[in-house]
Symmetry: C2
Subunit: 338 residues, 2 copies
């Protein structure tokens, strides 16, 4: 057991106890060549004092922190939570810690968080950008600090990034709904300034165009605007929806609730298909059909890309696109499936 002094022991304390120089203790710590007997003495001293190297000091000297930053808009979204989980795992495996920050979807907060993280000498950064209209934030990153974006993609792609096949996802989803004979399919989305939203809308439009049907897109600036009244006016009265394609998780939740308040049941009265899977989507009645994103894999790949970068190697930015998958349950009209 360790003997606690009033202050945490330093390497100097260890060295003194082991009766060697500071540097020798440091060498033992770093597995450099040191005589067997001194190694033993030093290790014993470390054990006895309960010595823990000060990573701050180590990082200061070595100009690195063995920490990466991660900025997400909102942890409550299960997609994000899963991605964060995966990143954290990969980081741990590489001996890094993750400093987590959430931007609340606000670019200014995002930028200020980046500045704060950079001040903490993070070695790398993983961001799910809050706004993809803006130019990349690489102007905030000092030389040598690399960043990877995921989920969203920035305009001037000078960064590694990982996204999913958003466009194909909604295209296939829309085509599927069309296959059920549905025509007045309304796409509901929020935050049209986001890359994902634009891409998903594009996929939807492509499928509608291919079918020769006029697309009906209803977007709100912020999810908060998606109320039952809005749903009634915009989606049903104005667009005469006979099916709904929800473009993200929050929209799905709000649509589901809104629909019920209007006395309709999603999937029964109004066929519905949503982007992003979540726990219990399969337990809704009818079970919700979705476009599933590989959230954990997204996080894992983003982290892997970052660590490859940190180890040196690649130069030009790389973009990874992971496949979405259409999970057909019941709400899209596929009642036949169990």
């Amino acid at each position: 057991m360790a003997i606690w002094k009033s202050q945490a022991p330093t390497l100097l304390d260890v060295a003194r106890l082991a009766d060697v120089s500071l540097k020798t203790a440091s060498r033992v710590l770093n597995n450099a060549r040191v005589n067997e007997d001194k190694v033993i003495r030093v290790k014993a001293a470390m054990e006895r004092l309960g010595y823990r190297p000060n990573e701050l000091a180590r990082g200061l000297k070595a100009q690195r922190s063995a920490a990466i930053g991660m900025i997400v808009p909102n942890l409550s979204d299960p997609f994000t939570a899963n991605a964060v989980n995966a990143v954290q795992e990969v980081a741990r495996a590489n001996g890094f810690v993750v400093i987590l920050a959430s931007s609340g979807g606000d670019v200014d907060v995002e930028r200020s968080e980046i500045v704060s993280l950079v001040g903490r000498q993070i070695d790398g950064l993983i961001v799910a950008p809050a706004d993809s209209r803006k130019d990349s934030f690489s102007d905030l990153l000092p030389n040598g600090v690399h960043a990877v974006t995921f989920d969203q993609q920035l305009r001037n792609a000078d960064l590694d990034s990982v996204t999913v096949t958003n466009r194909r996802g909604t295209r296939e989803a829309t085509a599927h709904l069309l296959g059920h004979g549905l025509k007045r399919i309304v796409a509901i989305g929020a935050r049209p300034h986001l890359y994902t939203c634009r891409e998903r809308v594009a996929g939807y439009r492509a499928a509608m165009k291919a079918a020769g049907i006029e697309p009906r897109v209803c977007l709100v600036d912020h999810e908060g605007m998606l109320t039952p009244a809005w749903l009634k006016d915009q989606v049903f009265d104005l667009q005469q929806a006979d099916a709904i394609l929800s473009l993200n998780w929050v929209c799905t939740i709000l649509s589901l609730r809104g629909l019920r308040e209007l006395g309709k049941t999603a999937g029964r009265d109004v066929p519905m298909l949503s982007f992003d899977d979540f726990d219990l989507a399969d337990m809704l009645t009818p079970a919700l059909s979705v476009v599933k994103q590989p959230a954990e894999m997204l996080g894992r790949e983003a982290a892997t890309l970052l660590f490859e970068r940190l180890k040196g190697g690649r130069v030009e930015p790389r973009t990874l696109v992971l496949p979405t998958s259409l999970i057909l349950r019941e709400s899209c009209g596929c009642r036949s499936l169990s």
Copy 2:
């Protein structure tokens, strides 16, 4: 705009550019008394160089890092994600960052993460312990680093902690089910070594005892063991359940799925009430009645407790117990409600 040199600029660079001493630049940075004109020169130099103070160096000198650690078993649980969110917000407001780690519910991982975080000189720690049988981990914390536990509570409570009224929560829930005339209520839980599990079971037992009915508790060591077959054998065949009280989120999900595989619908065929609310619990059919935990508040209070500690002040450990609330929807048998 900043001029990027190959290396990030240091305070010395600033001082040289402003033609003042290093210390004066430092004074400007810390708003100490400095002549007006030098302040201007230094600030201009900082602006020009895009100077950002090195928090590692600052922290090394000041023996603090303005970072707190947070360890949770699993981010995928919405309860946890919300708590983390709240902690992060409070930390940010106090100028701190959060280093997030997940233990995966493994005490050894938890302890090793704590050691790692301590090495990074965190100023405080917030933990949702992975095992509440074990003694507190305060042996791992150096002098001056305080910790707060939340959700779970450790045996030797030498730490601040925030929990909810687990016992009252299940007691009221059970009483409610009993009020519907249900008798063979089976409590389903996992990880019986956890404080929350024990407390929730205790609340359930108390209510059953008060009603003079034999309690029926079915616990599994790990959630993975909760399969449809187990549900059929243990819960229905053996205990002849006519109602289910699920003691946590994962059990709820698995019970819901298991029930369906057995051809039953939770809430219709088998009344059900669950601990922990989640998005879309209200959209299940029938809507799931739950005991709701104030997750964000839990996180916020935990962080607040920690920062109070950091500012000095209290000495003896404090335990905060936040109220759960019974949210009656339909699955408990309250069909009458909307």
